[in-house]
């Protein structure tokens, strides 16, 4: 779907295209986040179904992500959603789980 849209929209329509992308992302935000996470972090053996919406992403008990992964998540938010996390320290709560990241994106998307 995303590919299809990017393909059709001319570059001059960049802003509009992003808005359209956002709409598509928002409809299935949690699922998309999981896919983006798996791709960006090279989690080869994991499928979106393995990641529960509310499971902790960091620390020993959850997905076991670390500080470098947190920086990659910041990049995902910037690149795909146009959201800047200004204070990396805020990241700890925002990045707790897929649900908390999705909440943050909804709150910060105009």
């Amino acid at each position: 779907m995303t590919l299809y849209l990017n393909f059709l929209k001319p570059i001059t329509d960049k802003m509009e295209s992003q808005t359209e992308n956002n709409r598509v992302y928002m409809e299935n935000l949690n699922e998309n986040l999981k896919k983006q996470l798996i791709e960006a972090l090279n989690l080869e053996d994991i499928t979106p179904a393995d990641i529960d919406d509310n499971m902790p992403l960091f620390g020993e008990t959850g997905l076991g992500l670390d500080s470098i992964d947190a920086l990659e998540i910041i990049l995902i938010l910037e690149r795909n959603y146009g959201i800047k996390v200004e204070k990396p320290k805020e990241g700890k709560e925002i990045f707790y789980s897929i649900s908390t990241i999705a909440d943050y994106i909804r709150k910060n998307t105009k």
Binding site: L41, N42, D45, L63, G64, D66, S67, I68, D69, E72
Partner: protein, 587 residues
């Protein structure tokens, strides 16, 4: 026997020779300034950059910096200049059989890499950089290159000291250098670890580091000369905790400082000051304060020179050791510029002002990616223990090398894993990604981190897993000494591909973190809980005899039982690993 630092030279953003640097620091100047330079970044960056005039001047002296055939690159020019200075100060013959060069650099000529080309400029290999510089001094082939992240310079001093103690060489020039480029700046920016001002080590308001470029060299000799200081001990350790995050406890850095002090035969009470890494990132300085506390050195004057030079990466260990030697001789500890309010969890005796101190010994320490730590002790000759003179090895000193046996050999190549020559696992799929995945699953491992590693780390991880299978050891009794030819070039190219396709802001921290070859040693240490020495050499080909010879020096240290030595080479799908497990005899 003692090892003496008998000559030194540095070139930094603050000055083109040692005297100019000392003057600049005593005048309270900083080499860090805002730079708008496309060589570094599209956006302004605070960095300590060597002026173009300096390079032009060196080029006139050493034959060109424009990268044409035969002309030296910026990094090579700086190395040639600091070594040239040592030669003219001391008149040593670099072509002599008892003379050697140990280079330290993290990225060498990385800016010559071209991600769109399938054939890379040979000068981008660190061994070729070493050869090009060494051959200018008639020392063709008479060198080694260490690339061990931010401890490279201190590592090089530790290695050179061991080579002299072993009697193999009588004089060694240790030369460290890194220059800045978009490669490095974009990577550190992706880590969000660059400060927008001049860095403020240990201060409560510190918010990151400044990058810098520099070169430094010392002459290490078995013979005293006037004005020399003694390199009286040195040690290297690993945190076995995380490849980029500093240890939570500081124990790794503590081990390195404690072992270096033990080797020098000194106690914390003998230490006059500490020159630490002090990058001014929140977590590095926090970790250092804990390590200093564990070492019983909390009351000793501490300094970081990063506000003057920036973080000069592979040069920093050499440059800051030179500056420590100068302060030891002068009886002065320079202030840590910009320090105001204590900002570390454990107390540190930091001051922004210069202090007069009665000198005996000092410690220079550093920590880096891969979880590595290194420390050396410098001593005024009149206070250094041990016996001067070349032929003596009193029983009280550790032997310079130990005999060992090879317990096990593992090789991994062409879709085949072999232990002691016998195939343990083979796969139809010889393509590395598929093969590594199949082998990983065959071994029934469940380590989430494996798939995040770059190919070099996966290769080392799999080879070490087989090598250490069923072998038990204490964290500190095992060391890792590895080598390869292409350093981290495979990940370097991935980082550069991102920069050229999508711009600096797209630089991926999880790619950049693997642009140091020693990170594979760090991954092995995390997996197997190894906290002993880590040293990474870069050589054109696998030189098992030289690695074993160095390992025998590592194994001679008290409490070291095993040393992993090996070759771990990965570039663009071609892979080749040979690992050996050495065990010290006479235990």
């Amino acid at each position: 026997m003692k090892t003496y630092i008998t000559a030194a030279e540095v070139i930094t953003a603050l000055g083109a020779d040692l005297a100019a640097n000392v003057r600049a620091i005593e005048d309270g100047l900083s080499g860090v300034a805002e730079r708008k330079d496309p060589r570094l970044s599209d956006s302004p960056v605070m960095a300590a950059v060597i002026p173009d005039e300096t390079f032009a001047c060196l080029a006139a002296q050493y034959g060109g910096a424009d990268g044409k055939s035969g002309a030296l690159t910026r990094t090579e020019l700086l190395l040639a200049a600091v070594i040239g200075s040592i030669v003219s100060q001391t008149g040593i013959d670099m072509s002599s059989a008892d003379t050697f060069i140990v280079f330290s650099s993290t990225k060498g000529n990385v800016s010559l890499l071209d991600p769109s080309s399938s054939n890379q400029d040979e000068r981008a290999y660190l061994w070729e950089m070493g050869e090009r510089v060494a051959s200018r001094f008639g020392a063709s082939g008479r060198f080694c290159v260490i690339s061990n992240a931010c401890i490279s310079g201190v590592s090089a001093l530790v290695v050179a000291r061991r080579l002299i103690l072993s009697g193999k060489y009588r004089k060694i020039v240790v030369a460290g250098c890194d220059t800045l480029s978009r490669f490095i700046v974009s990577g550190f920016a992706s880590f969000r670890s660059l400060s927008g001002g001049v860095c403020r080590p240990y201060d409560s308001s510190r918010d990151g580091l400044n990058l810098g470029e520099a070169a430094g060299a010392v002459l290490l000799s078995d013979a005293f000369s006037k004005g020399a200081v003694v390199l009286s001990g040195g040690a290297i350790s690993d945190d076995a905790n995380h490849i980029s995050g500093p240890s939570r406890t500081g124990d790794g850095l503590f081990f390195a400082m404690r072992n270096a002090m033990n080797e020098a035969g000194v106690t914390p009470d003998d230490i006059s000051f500490l020159n630490m890494h002090g990058t001014a990132t929140v977590y590095n300085d926090e970790m250092e304060s804990k390590a200093v506390g564990l070492a019983g050195l909390s009351s000793v004057p501490v300094q970081s020179l990063k506000p003057y030079f920036g973080h000069t990466l592979g040069a920093s260990g050499v440059v800051e050791t030179v500056m420590s030697a100068v302060q030891l001789r002068k009886g002065t500890v320079w202030g840590t510029k910009g320090y105001e309010t204590p900002g570390t969890p454990m107390p540190l005796n930091v001051s922004s002002a210069s202090r007069r101190v009665s000198m005996k010994h000092c410690v220079k320490a550093a920590s880096g990616f891969g979880g590595c730590n290194a420390a050396v002790v410098l001593s005024l000759p009149e206070y250094s223990s041990g016996t001067a003179g070349r032929e003596e090895h009193p029983a009280s000193e550790s032997r310079p090398s130990a005999s060992y046996r090879i317990l096990r050999t593992v090789s991994l190549k062409d879709g085949r894993l072999a232990r002691d020559g016998k195939t343990v696992f083979s796969s139809e799929a010889t393509e590395f990604g598929e093969f590594a995945r199949a082998l990983y699953h065959e071994k029934g491992r469940a380590d989430m981190k494996f798939f995040k590693m770059d190919s070099l780390c996966k290769l080392g991880y799999l080879a070490a897993g087989e090598l250490l299978d069923g072998i038990e050891f204490e964290p500190e009794e095992t060391a890792v000494v590895l080598s390869d030819s292409s350093s981290s070039m495979d990940s370097d190219l991935r980082h550069l591909e991102t920069l050229s396709c999508c711009g600096e802001a797209a630089a991926s921290p999880s790619v950049f973190v693997y642009t140091l070859p020693n990170v594979v040693a760090g991954e092995i240490c995390i997996r197997h809980k190894i906290k002993g020495e880590n040293t990474f050499f870069i050589s054109r080909e696998y030189e098992p005899d030289k690695l074993r010879e160095y390992a025998s020096m590592v194994l001679s240290r008290n409490g070291v039982r095993y040393c992993i030595v090996g070759w771990c080479e990965y570039l663009k799908g071609a892979y080749d690993a040979v690992f050996e497990l050495l065990e010290a005899d006479n235990r």
